[in-house]
């Protein structure tokens, strides 16, 4: 969680300094969800992500250096500079990609889960999506298909109360996204998205259910989007006080620290050591990204098609 937080604070700073092109959507304040869910996953499990994908990518095990380089548009990035913040993927850890299309991940996750089932593997796919995305038609199609075919997939809604500038209640009549599970004949569960222990435990049950042939689950993690929709968002649609209050009362990292200290699992000193270690990692990632070269013009045409096309494998 600290790795996600500090990485993103660095990205925020670099974007504001004008070093990062494009759009950046920060996950700050929602770290407990990706972390709690992905702690239940193996390398061979899959996730699909959103436009707000840094947290999911890090939680699934991606390396910070190629991530940062990708965000800078450098050729040493995960996608050789062709993706950027909104399109990071690391197939080596089962991270099937962030998605610039809201709701683009549902069907891909269902398909990856279908492949796992057909191949006789007990791997699963997790689809992260936002409350705004839950109103896309693809949600219905993918969840229904996954339910009908009992696919090993977990749909994780990150209900941060906002879709860009629009509050949840103005676009959605159901109180909870999790309630929609009833319509598909699958379990639906609400978790406290700012409590990594709660996310971990309930995600564990859902992942286990998927792994053992029980089919999909719809989890809804209740949280709050602390930052603007994207870096540079003037946030004219809500008050500063509201945001500050939410962060003060409900920061998932503060809550985690307080609990591990109270339960004597880690000391303040150990926590500080972790932080220092992560800070060093992020400094290295930044340096790597800054020093890396941009792609060469000829790379424009690379990786569009598989050369030759016909594989005999």
């Amino acid at each position: 969680m600290t790795r996600i937080r500090l990485f993103e604070e660095k990205v925020n700073e670099l974007f504001l300094k004008g070093e990062i092109p494009g759009f950046v959507h920060l996950y700050i304040g929602e770290e407990a969800i990706a972390t709690g869910v992905c702690q239940n996953l193996r390398n061979s499990d899959y996730i699909t992500s959103t436009h707000r994908g840094h947290g999911h990518t890090i939680a699934k095990g991606a390396q910070l250096k190629p991530m940062m380089a990708e965000i800078f548009g450098k050729r040493t990035g995960y996608c050789k500079g062709k993706g950027g913040s909104m399109h990071i993927a690391d197939f080596s850890v089962g991270m099937l990609g962030a998605n610039g299309v809201v709701g683009g991940g549902y069907t891909l996750a269902a398909g990856a889960a279908l492949a796992c089932k057909m191949q006789g593997r007990d791997d699963v796919a997790v689809c992260f999506f936002g409350d705004g995305a839950s109103n896309r038609g693809t949600f219905h199609e993918a969840v229904n298909m996954a339910a009908a075919w009992k696919l090993p997939v977990v749909f994780v809604c990150e209900n941060n109360q906002w879709a860009s500038t629009t509050p949840y209640r103005t676009t959605t009549a159901v109180e909870n996204i999790a309630d929609r599970s009833v319509g598909y004949g699958i379990p639906g569960e609400i978790v406290d998205g700012n409590d990594v222990f709660d996310v971990y435990e309930k995600a564990a049950r859902a992942v286990e259910r998927a792994r053992t042939g029980g089919g999909p689950t719809l989890l809804e993690a209740k949280t709050y989007r602390i930052k603007g929709h994207f870096v540079g968002d003037p946030e004219l649609y809500r008050s500063r006080e509201e945001v500050q209050r939410m962060m003060k009362e409900n920061d998932p990292i503060t809550r985690l620290k307080e609990r591990v200290i109270a339960e004597k699992r880690l000391s303040e000193k150990e926590l500080a050591q972790i932080e220092a270690q992560v800070e060093a990692e992020i400094r290295e990632a930044e340096q790597f990204a800054v020093e890396s070269p941009f792609p060469e013009p000829h790379e424009l045409y690379e990786d569009l098609y598989v050369e030759g096309g016909v594989s005999n494998a």
Binding site: F91, G104, A112, L114, M118, T138, E141, A142, L304, V310
Partner: protein
């Protein structure tokens, strides 16, 4: 060689590829229990099981998207669209996901998906079940588009498409399904990206594909009667376009016409005409000619439908205008 129908040829391709590679599977609406609207899936589930020949919910975005997701996780899915017209329902999955994933993620993965899309005018199926929309997909880098005109290529192109590591759209004309033709025995593959010269001639090059190719061949016979020898090219793949074959032919004939059933505006013919104008204009002795449907949706009434179809006469007349 044996003579079999276009539909049987695609069935052979499917079963041979499923036999050869257990990562290949097919899904779509009403393909398993019904065997497909055109019989193109008959017997497959009995042979390979209902897990590998899957009836899906009526959820085009989920079908195409799940095909893409399954490909990312190591499968080689073939997805049947029922009718090409329904590709529009799943367009995001086609052009924002399937086409872009490889490039956008820096070549980390392959996306070996085949979309089978039955297209073309069939008796009074009207505006939402009769379209030829192949040209939409030329405009999207990352896709390959093939479109056979006969059983041999139907089999050969489908097999090549399934073995291709890139996403391929496979258009198959509904009227062609029952058409018979000779298909080579054994592992017959038609290369993607290679047009074929199906009739040699010296006076005009006529480029076509799919059902229209048969009209063009009839027209060529009739033109020969009036002393015009047409060279006929079957494009077979419309993305990427085989420029080499086209250019060589035009260098010889100095005249060119493109014929397709799709609407003329923004069609494949427009692209080919532009390529020729850019690169071969000096070579031409006459203006480039295009024949395609008028700019209207396909009407229902047989009387009106007839007016949007291109007949042999139309082709003959158009060729004579530039010869």
């Amino acid at each position: 060689m044996r003579s079999i129908t276009f539909s049987e040829a695609t069935l052979e391709a499917m079963s041979e590829e499923m036999e050869r590679d257990d990562r290949v599977f097919i899904m779509g609406e009403d393909i398993a229990r019904q065997g497909g609207i055109f019989g193109q899936f008959k017997g497959l589930p009995q042979r390979f099981g209902f897990e590998r020949v899957k009836d899906t919910p009526i959820s085009e975005t989920a079908i195409v998207g799940a095909g893409v997701g399954a490909a990312l996780a190591g499968m080689r899915p073939v997805v049947d669209m029922h009718f090409a017209d329904f590709l529009g329902v799943a367009m995001d999955e086609v052009f924002n996901q399937m086409a872009k994933i490889r490039y956008m993620f820096g070549g980390q993965t392959i996306v070996p998906v085949v979309l089978r899309a039955p297209d073309g005018i069939i008796r009074s199926a009207a505006a939402q079940h009769s379209q030829c929309i192949e040209s939409w997909f030329l405009h999207i880098p990352g896709l390959k588009v093939v479109i056979p005109s006969n059983p041999a290529d139907a089999k050969g192109l489908l097999k090549s498409a399934i073995r291709d590591d890139n996403p391929v759209l496979y258009f198959e004309h509904k009227v062609l399904f029952p058409m018979k033709g000779e298909v080579p025995d054994g592992d017959h593959l038609t290369p993607i990206g290679k047009a074929s010269i199906v009739r040699e001639g010296k006076d005009i090059t006529i480029i076509s594909y799919s059902l229209m190719l048969h009209r063009v061949l009839e027209a060529a016979k009739s033109l020969a009667g009036s002393g015009i020898e047409a060279e006929v090219i079957d494009l077979r793949t419309i993305s990427p376009i085989d420029k080499e074959t086209i250019f060589e032919s035009i260098a010889k004939t100095k005249r060119v016409m493109i014929v397709h059933e799709a609407v003329k505006t923004g069609g494949v013919g427009a692209e080919i005409a532009a390529i020729i104008a850019e690169e071969m204009l000096d070579c031409l002795d006459a203006p480039i000619k295009r024949l395609g449907a008028p700019y209207v949706p396909i009407p229902f009434s047989p009387v009106l439908e007839k007016l949007v179809k291109i007949g042999v006469e139309d082709i003959v007349n158009a060729a004579q205008e530039i010869c």
